[in-house]
């Protein structure tokens, strides 16, 4: 069965209350066409996991502006003042996670780990409510995995079986999220035939990808 899908077939998968991971770092490496489809469909009460809430007119920032997000799990909201306003007003919940911890939590979710010990955040508000574990005299926080119903990813090239290659700084969270969601949807700048990618250059194996859209 072909993984190449129309935007309508993809939009069918969206519904209220989903947990959605969205690749990108300040919208670089964010699948804007897939975000368009989320905005158009108007699903609500989403929990969104991503690096940041981007800018008001790009990526996750657009879902903040359209008020479709109930909770954002991100490392940074400083580039989109509306996120801070909604948070302060109690309109949305924002869980701020150190960027390295966020990346590792997504990786843990995808890798079947129950969590990991990190020195990051020890002695700060990030430690609140978390188990503190000492190993060989060093203190760590136990951080737990993140998973999602859907991952929306951006790739540079995809082959028709879903093997993905990324480009420069547009890689960021995309390969991690490809592992951590039940349904993985990719927007690719270029789609090539199976066999055209060198197996050594593939970053995300096609088996992880469910649906592919030409950007």
């Amino acid at each position: 069965m072909s993984k190449l899908k129309s935007i309508d077939e993809i939009a069918e998968k969206f519904s209220d209350n989903q947990v959605i991971m969205i690749g990108g770092f300040l919208a670089v490496g964010t699948p804007e066409t897939l975000v368009d489809a989320l905005v158009t469909k108007g699903v609500r009460n989403l929990t969104v996991i991503g690096n940041d809430t981007s800018f008001p007119d790009r990526g996750i920032g657009r879902l903040i502006m359209s008020r479709q997000i109930k909770k954002a799990i991100v490392s940074h909201i400083g580039t989109n003042k509306e996120t801070g306003r909604q948070m302060t007003a109690g309109e949305i919940e924002v869980e701020l996670v150190p960027q390295g911890t966020l990346a590792e939590r997504v990786r843990s979710g995808g890798a079947g780990l129950g969590g990991f010990l990190t020195p990051t955040g020890v002695g700060t508000v990030v430690a609140e409510g978390k188990q503190v574990i000492t190993v060989n005299g060093c203190t760590y926080l136990l951080e737990l995995p993140l998973k999602a119903d859907i991952a929306l990813l951006k790739a540079w090239k995809a082959d028709k079986s879903g093997n993905l290659v990324y480009r420069r700084a547009a890689r960021n969270f995309n390969p991690l999220m490809a592992m951590a969601a039940d349904l993985v949807i990719v927007e690719a700048e270029e789609i090539v035939e199976v066999g055209e990618l060198n197996p050594d250059e593939v970053v995300t194996p096609g088996t992880l990808v469910d649906m592919i859209l030409k950007a």
Partner: protein, 217 residues
Amino acid sequence: MSDMRERIVKRVARFFKDGDLVNLGIGMPTMVANFIPSDINVMLQSENGFIGLGPSPEAGKEDKDTVNAGGIPVTIVPGGACFDSSMSFALIRGGHVDATVLGALEVDEKGNLANWIVPGKLVPGMGGAMDLVVGAKKVIIAMEHTTKEGAPKILKNCTLPLTAVNVVDYIVTELGVMEVTEEGIVLRELAPGVTAEEIQSKTEARLVIPAHVEIMQ
């Protein structure tokens, strides 16, 4: 760039050694890149996913996928390498970054750092700062010595929510260079024309002042 800021970033750049991997924070720390001595090879990491951060591209040659952690178009130098965010922070947390340079709202005698949140006001999020200061081998704070209102930023105890505990190694301001040690904050260098009394008067923490203090260059 003001003379004051130029003095700070020039001095910070002299902390690096040949072969170092360095991560520069957003703002004044970014400017350190322009003053790295030409006789050493320093690679810059951009925590959004690569090593080999290069200068801005020529106008019209921007590449949408090649930006720094502030989202600004940059270039990647020959010998650069790209990776995902978990690898980027494995490099950072794993001690593979030799130095990081960041600004601060407050630093204290124990090397505690507060630079990510002002409760009730600015809540940008910590981004990669918490990982960087915990993981980098050398944490260098580059900042103006006092607030705009003249209040000390180098304190006995930080009052703002911390970024991390006991992580700061050096503080470079327009007045001097200080090293955070077990014995407290030691004054290592004074800017030309600045006296130990003056820098202490603008610092809440008690500075340890050795017999010999160099001139900051």
